[in-house]
Amino acid sequence: MDSKRSEAAQRAADMPLAVKILVAGGFGVGKTTMVGAVSEIRPLQTEEVLTDRSIGVDNTAGVEQKTTTTVAMDFGRITIRDGLILYLFGTPGQDRFWFMWDELSLGALGAVVLADTRRLADCFPSVDYFERRGLPFVVAVNCFEDGFDYTPDEIRQALDLDGAIPVVMCDARERRSGKKVLTTLVGHVLSIHGHAPPREAGAPVY
């Protein structure tokens, strides 16, 4: 049994390490679209079954009466190198599922808050949550054709964001654009800790 255990430990050390980034925002803002645009696999879906207890409803009626809700999450995958995988989770927009968000945030490198200029308020809960939680994030404005033409500074003001938080204009359908959002996020996390992110030579600023 002991040798079996140490064998398993050795095997585990040879297995890939996974890290994650969250993509949050209101319903229909383009989370799944962005995850799919940068993922090497078609976005997959997993679901969590939430009981009254996990969503904080006090139920006195007993186990038999327990109601459940399922929350679906989309995710994609990017192989960074052999042995290192980045997962992207499109997190559900309902801010009442704190339990879900807590689990998703734990150990995350950072988050992308997707915003739609037609419904800016939809991303307030995400912004609030990540600020409170202290998880580094960037705001990516998904530019729909009939959206309003706000500047990043106007968005920053409207969302009452700290000046250091990057605001990026993007097209969630474009791989290159999603890549720009993600590199901005990781660069932001590095800069928070006083490490200048290396300039990407000739990178187009979308």
């Binding site: 890290v19 994650k20 997959l44 190198r81 980045l86 150990g107």
Partner: protein
């Protein structure tokens, strides 16, 4: 593993009924999240005794899938079973030493510059 066959469950049962039947209500908070985080990587390290009544088709499906290391979230997606169920099944398999787990760094969050630079370079190379 506790022995309850799932043969009597037909497709009509629906995902939730099926979930609870599969896990026999073993969905305590203790099995949720701890050790089987969504991005924990699972790899099969042993062969299940096919004849055992404690081995369900779902256990075997996981072992087959994880011949190549796979995340908990991917297992859930590919088998179309909620995370809460997958975690119980993984717990069974871990108890009998049939899987190995590579857990993600969960520490909230000592800054890891090397890891972040690796991720940044990987993303830039996309």
């Amino acid at each position: 593993m506790t022995g309850h066959g799932s043969e009597w469950l037909d497709e009509e049962a629906g995902p939730l009924v099926r979930s609870y039947a599969l896990t026999r209500g073993r969905t305590s908070p203790g099995t949720r999240g701890e050790g089987f985080e969504m991005i924990a990587i699972i790899s099969t390290v042993g062969t299940a005794p096919f004849s055992s009544p404690n081995v369900w088709p779902e256990h075997l499906a996981i072992l087959e899938l994880c011949a190549r290391p796979l995340s908990v979230a991917e297992i859930s997606a590919k088998l179309r079973l909620p995370l809460v169920v997958i975690r119980v099944l993984l717990g069974d398999l871990l108890d009998v030493g049939l899987i190995a787990v590579r857990r993600p760094k969960q520490d909230d969050r000592p800054f890891n510059e090397h890891l972040l630079r690796e991720v940044l370079h990987g993303l830039q190379a996309l």
